[in-house]
């Protein structure tokens, strides 16, 4: 039967690409607001910046339903075990964005109370600089993550992936 006589339209492609496409376009972030960055994260979800354009407006309250953790703010020594527990509850595949300098390196709070970089606790995919990063910067970080999801390995666990679970540095 010639193709133009087929009654339904369909696309062909590699399953891998389709799965990656689907994953990239429906990332569900967990609400993990900690400090100042959380306000900017919420602003990103607000009407002006509208994170829904990237299919990410469903912020899930339960980590079981989320696949992206945006660590928005400084992580204290008291919060660190909680953060790890929330991360552990998320199901694979999962990604982490470290938002702001405090989450990335401890920032200006180089003291006893703050974990000097959230990558000591969970593996981070994208670091977003700024104190706090504006919504544009966060969106740039999210697009960098989308790119990573689109090109990354599908089945392997993150630790064995080509980037070794290492971060994509983000130059802004």
């Amino acid at each position: 039967m010639p193709l133009d006589q087929i009654p339904h339209n369909f696309l062909t492609g590699r399953l891998e690409d389709i799965v990656r496409w689907a994953r990239r376009n429906s990332v569900m972030p967990a609400t993990f607001g900690l400090a100042c960055c959380a306000i900017e994260m919420m602003a990103t979800g607000g009407s002006h910046y509208d994170i829904a354009r990237f299919g990410m407006e469903t912020f899930r309250a339960s980590p079981r339903q989320a696949d992206l953790m945006i660590v928005a703010g400084r992580v204290s020594q008291k919060m660190a075990p909680v953060l790890r527990q929330v991360y552990d509850q998320m199901v694979e595949p999962k990604w982490v964005i470290s938002m702001g300098v405090c989450a990335s390196t401890g920032g200006m709070f180089n003291n006893y109370a703050i974990v000097q970089g959230v990558d000591q606790i969970v593996p981070v995919d994208v670091y977003v600089p700024g104190c706090p990063p504006g919504p544009e910067t966060l969106l740039h970080g999210i697009l960098a993550l989308h790119d990573q999801i689109r090109t990354g390995e599908l089945l392997k666990r993150r630790a064995d992936s080509p980037t070794g679970g290492a971060a994509v540095s983000l130059a802004v």
Partner: protein
């Protein structure tokens, strides 16, 4: 704030007018210009008063801490204690304190506010390092529950008769009291992933 106003926001003249109402205090201690400080000095022996940048400050013995707070609440209309904190003077024990006050390592500082009289007064008590405890004011001012726990957590000063004296900001299994000058460095070394040095 303009110079011609006290922290209360009143013109300075107003305070001086009020001074006439204040009873003369002990002869060897000069009468403070603030009426509340004068009233405290009159009632409690050993209290010393200074004016710090226009704010009345009363230095007390540790044993008088609770009595003075009760006096302020019940007789001077100081219905609110707005702030309680502490200072660790480990590296500055030889600091300047009013004559008659023996400087110790810790100072517990409480700021009181009278809404009715629109006034403030600050009480300071010396707490020695060897026996770091002081009476809790939580039974008098319920709002001091959190601040006293905070001071206990960060300075290790015990508040006797506090209903729930546990750590509030640091994790329960934390060791030390980070705001002490000899505890918890304010700067921790940053380790980088590619750092060739042994960590």
């Amino acid at each position: 704030m303009p110079d011609d106003q006290t922290p209360d926001g009143r013109p300075r003249e107003a305070i001086h007018e009020n001074d006439q109402d204040a009873e003369p205090a002990e002869s060897d201690v000069p009468t403070p210009s603030d009426e509340v400080a004068a009233a405290i000095l009159e009632r409690f022996d050993g209290a010393r008063s200074v004016s710090s940048h226009g704010q009345p400050v009363v230095y007390l013995g540790r044993s008088q801490w609770r009595d003075v707070a009760e006096f302020l609440r019940d007789e001077q209309q100081f219905t609110t204690c707005v702030d309680l904190t502490a200072v660790d003077f480990l590296t500055a024990v030889d600091r300047a304190v009013p004559p008659g006050v023996e400087a110790e390592r810790f100072e517990v500082v409480a700021n009181f506010l009278s809404h009715a009289r629109n006034r403030r007064v600050r009480l300071i008590a010396q707490v020695p390092a060897t026996d770091a405890e002081i009476a809790s004011l939580t039974p008098l001012y319920g709002g001091l529950n959190f601040p006293e726990r905070e001071v206990f957590d960060l300075f290790g000063i015990k508040f006797v008769d506090h209903p729930d004296l546990t750590r509030i900001l640091m994790p329960d299994d934390w060791e030390g009291h980070p705001l002490r000058k000899d505890d918890a460095p304010a700067r921790v070394p940053v380790t980088f992933k590619e750092d060739p040095r042994p960590s």
